[in-house]
């Protein structure tokens, strides 16, 4: 990012942290959390202790970080090195990101930026300008992707409350600030579970590792449609209805156990929840701080009170609309605050600041001045 772009984005972020401090709070037990931040110019700063909202707001205004993080874990000494922190427990966290859903529609709102010649083009395998294959893929706003990630959040919340008995009030859903959602489970019996156990929880949610002898073969019987947990969900997915169940069981039995095992493994792509297991099993992670801006997009990580009605490109976009001239470059269009922008052919254009910040953060725009 150019110096002038950094300056502009930092100014915009600073203004946001001044105007919207009501959206930014320390989590529960702040004195036990580890905070961390990044600047546009440098690496990660970790092991920071912040005790209350006031300290946090002051910190944001002074440092103007590109990204701010806070641990899901609680420690006795959050600002000491990892081995001396004394881990006391951690919120159970989940990351659902559109990039992990492998949606077909994703191609339509992805573009490439060549790391050799820096040119931006429509999605393809190599750079049409210099043939290089060293490309970074940039994805722009997409309602379908957000809807698909919302569906995964709904699947996750249902299993968390039905199978894991987590009270709905303790499941907190946040828009990640880019292309997905972060889900926190607060004050649960899982706070003390360690990494290996969380990895098992992740496998459960993703329906990974299911074996045929527990879902119909050998000593087990084929699940009923109204069975609890995965048996019921698997049954509904495979059989659909009671009337088809017998016929399909016959088919499964005649195809043999190994093909049933393959079927079970494929089911994870449909009925499994598409979480990033590495996030869930990490008990020392510093996770993006709710209310802070995501420098990948300039959008805010925001609490979703009503997931169904939540429109991140409208509701999580808090940068003001002061016009600014930028050189915009994107072969496809995108939508912010209910307005469509682009395509732009490397052209100078005056746009509202929130669009300029989004484009600079995405790497498809640079200040014209």
């Amino acid at each position: 990012m150019h110096e002038k772009d950094i300056q502009f984005v930092e100014e915009s972020f600073k203004k946001y942290y001044f105007d919207h401090f009501d959206l930014i709070h320390v989590p529960e037990k702040p004195e036990q959390r580890e905070f961390g931040f990044q600047k546009f110019t440098g690496g990660m700063n970790r092991h920071i202790s912040i005790k209350n909202d006031k300290e946090l707001h002051l910190f944001l205004r002074n440092k103007v970080p590109s990204d701010v993080y806070c641990s899901n874990a609680c420690y006795s000494f959050p600002n000491l090195p990892m081995s001396e922190k004394d881990w006391k427990g951690a919120d159970l966290i989940f990351d659902i990101d559109a990039k992990d859903l492998n949606l077909d529609s994703r191609k339509e709102h992805s573009i490439i930026k060549c790391t050799s010649c820096n040119k931006i083009s429509k999605l393809q395998d190599s750079c049409p300008h210099c043939n290089s294959q060293k490309l970074s893929v940039i994805t722009l706003t997409c309602k379908d992707c957000i809807d698909a990630t919302k569906n995964e959040v709904i699947k996750l919340s249902a299993i968390l409350s039905n199978d894991f008995s987590i009270a709905e009030d303790n499941i907190k859903i946040y828009f990640s600030g880019n292309e997905g959602f972060h889900i926190y489970v607060l004050n649960s019996v899982y706070d003390k579970t360690e990494s290996k156990e969380r990895s098992e929880l992740a496998d459960y949610l993703m329906f990974r590792g299911a074996i045929s002898e527990r879902y119909g073969f050998k000593k087990s019987s084929f699940p009923e449609l109204d069975d609890k947990g995965w048996k019921g969900r698997m049954s509904k997915q495979i059989f659909g209805s009671e009337s088809k169940r017998k016929k399909i069981i016959k088919e499964i039995a005649s195809n043999g156990e190994s093909s049933f095992q393959v079927l079970l493994e494929k089911l994870k792509d449909t009925i499994g929840v598409k979480i990033d297991p590495n996030v869930t099993m990490d008990i020392h992670r510093i996770f993006r701080l709710p209310g802070s801006i995501n420098s990948k997009s300039g959008l805010t990580k925001l609490y979703c009170e009503n997931l169904e009605k939540f429109d991140p490109y409208k509701m999580a976009c808090f940068i003001d609309d002061e016009p600014i001239e930028i050189t915009a470059n994107t072969p496809i269009k995108f939508e912010l605050k209910n307005k469509k922008f682009g395509p732009y052919e490397n052209e100078k254009i005056e746009l509202p600041s929130f669009v300029a910040v989004y484009m600079i953060c995405k790497g498809i725009g640079t200040l014209a001045i």
Partner: protein, 340 residues
């Protein structure tokens, strides 16, 4: 604290306060080494260890039906003396085998106690599970129900897929188990409970008369000395990582971490490993060397990073298992064979 009658102590002798039990029955430890009339108990104790060392479970008199009070006491004595003999021998292999065999013996009783229609017995089983292993168990529709979080604490030690949570009946925060499964869940911990109890016990000074038996234990222990032979072949995940790099393709961070920590774990030096990364699209010699030194614990913090587990490798989509991977939990163990 669980209070037990003699018949219960016989089933779970490791729960007894050994010294107190002997005292209550009018014996002292010293007597067993010296009194010829008690020689058969020492012999029984020896047999109990020998049976365990051979991988078998000691047949209890209880199972033969002769459960008189004195027989029950003899049974507890043989356990207590076995522990003394093991302590005197100092042979860890024997202590381990004995603990596991005793755990499996107790498992059978525990399972029966859980199934038993007599409410008291069932309560004892549940109490043992809850007090020894902090696992609260409730009985519901003939099943034993534990909290998911408690279940996971134990189940993560198993490698068989049937213990994965996804293969369990889960509902409303709980896992439903048969009595056999509930008991099987704590086998390892039961064995380690017994082992810890043996290890933490202190011997009274001046114990005489056990020398011959202890010597015999020494020769049993010799049988279990093993040589481990290691093949030099790499596991498929490591071969894959090397292949990707050789082709000049991008290996994700997790793959690079796996490869580097694996080779460091096998004793290779940073300088030997570094050239492998030369074909990486974003190769930078300085950065690579710095990162490798960091992983080796030579730079930055002195933490030496260990090779990630197979489970972690799997979750990073870097696992391509072959049959030889079946019995390992970390790539570093690939190709290790016991040469008996």
């Amino acid at each position: 604290m669980i209070t037990l009658g003699t018949d219960e102590i016989t089933k779970y002798p490791f729960l007894a306060e050994g010294g107190q039990f002997l005292k209550d029955k009018g014996f002292s430890l010293e007597q067993f080494g010296l009194d010829p009339d008690l020689k058969n108990i020492v012999d029984n104790a020896y047999q109990r260890i020998e049976t365990a060392a051979n991988g078998n479970i000691y047949k209890s008199n209880l199972q033969n039906g002769s459960s008189t009070e004195s027989n029950l006491s003899l049974e507890v004595f043989s356990f207590l003396i076995a522990v003394i003999l093991l302590k005197l021998s100092g042979k860890n292999t024997l202590i381990q085998r004995f603990s596991l065999a005793e755990a499996r013996r107790a498992e059978k009783f525990l399972e029966k106690d859980l199934q038993h229609s007599d409410e008291n017995n069932e309560k004892l089983g549940i109490k043992i599970l809850s007090e020894l292993f902090s696992m609260n168990v409730e009985k519901q529709d003939g099943k034993f129900v534990v909290l998911i979080s408690d279940y996971l604490k134990h189940s993560v030690h198993f490698h068989e897929k049937e213990w994965k949570l996804v293969n369990r009946h889960v509902d409303n925060g709980k896992v439903f188990l048969t009595s056999h499964e509930a008991v099987r869940l704590v086998r390892k911990e039961l064995a380690s409970y017994i082992r810890k109890k043996i290890n933490s016990m202190s011997l009274p000074p001046g114990l005489d008369g056990f020398d011959d038996t202890v010597k015999k234990l020494g020769s049993i222990a010799k049988k279990f000395h093993v040589n481990i032979v290691e093949s030099t072949e790499y596991p498929p995940c490591i071969k894959y990582a090397i292949e990707v790099l050789e082709k000049g393709e991008n290996l994700p961070h997790s793959g690079r971490f796996l490869l580097a920590t694996f080779l460091l774990g096998k004793g290779q030096t940073v300088e030997q490993i570094e050239p492998l990364f030369k074909n990486a699209p974003d190769y930078n010699e300085k950065v690579t060397l710095y990162q490798l030194r960091h992983l080796a614990g030579d730079q930055g913090s002195t933490t030496k990073y260990a090779c990630p587990s197979c489970e972690k490798v799997k979750s990073n989509n870097l696992c391509f298992p072959v049959p030889a991977c079946d019995k390992i939990i970390n790539p570093i163990q690939f190709g290790r064979k016991i040469d008996a």
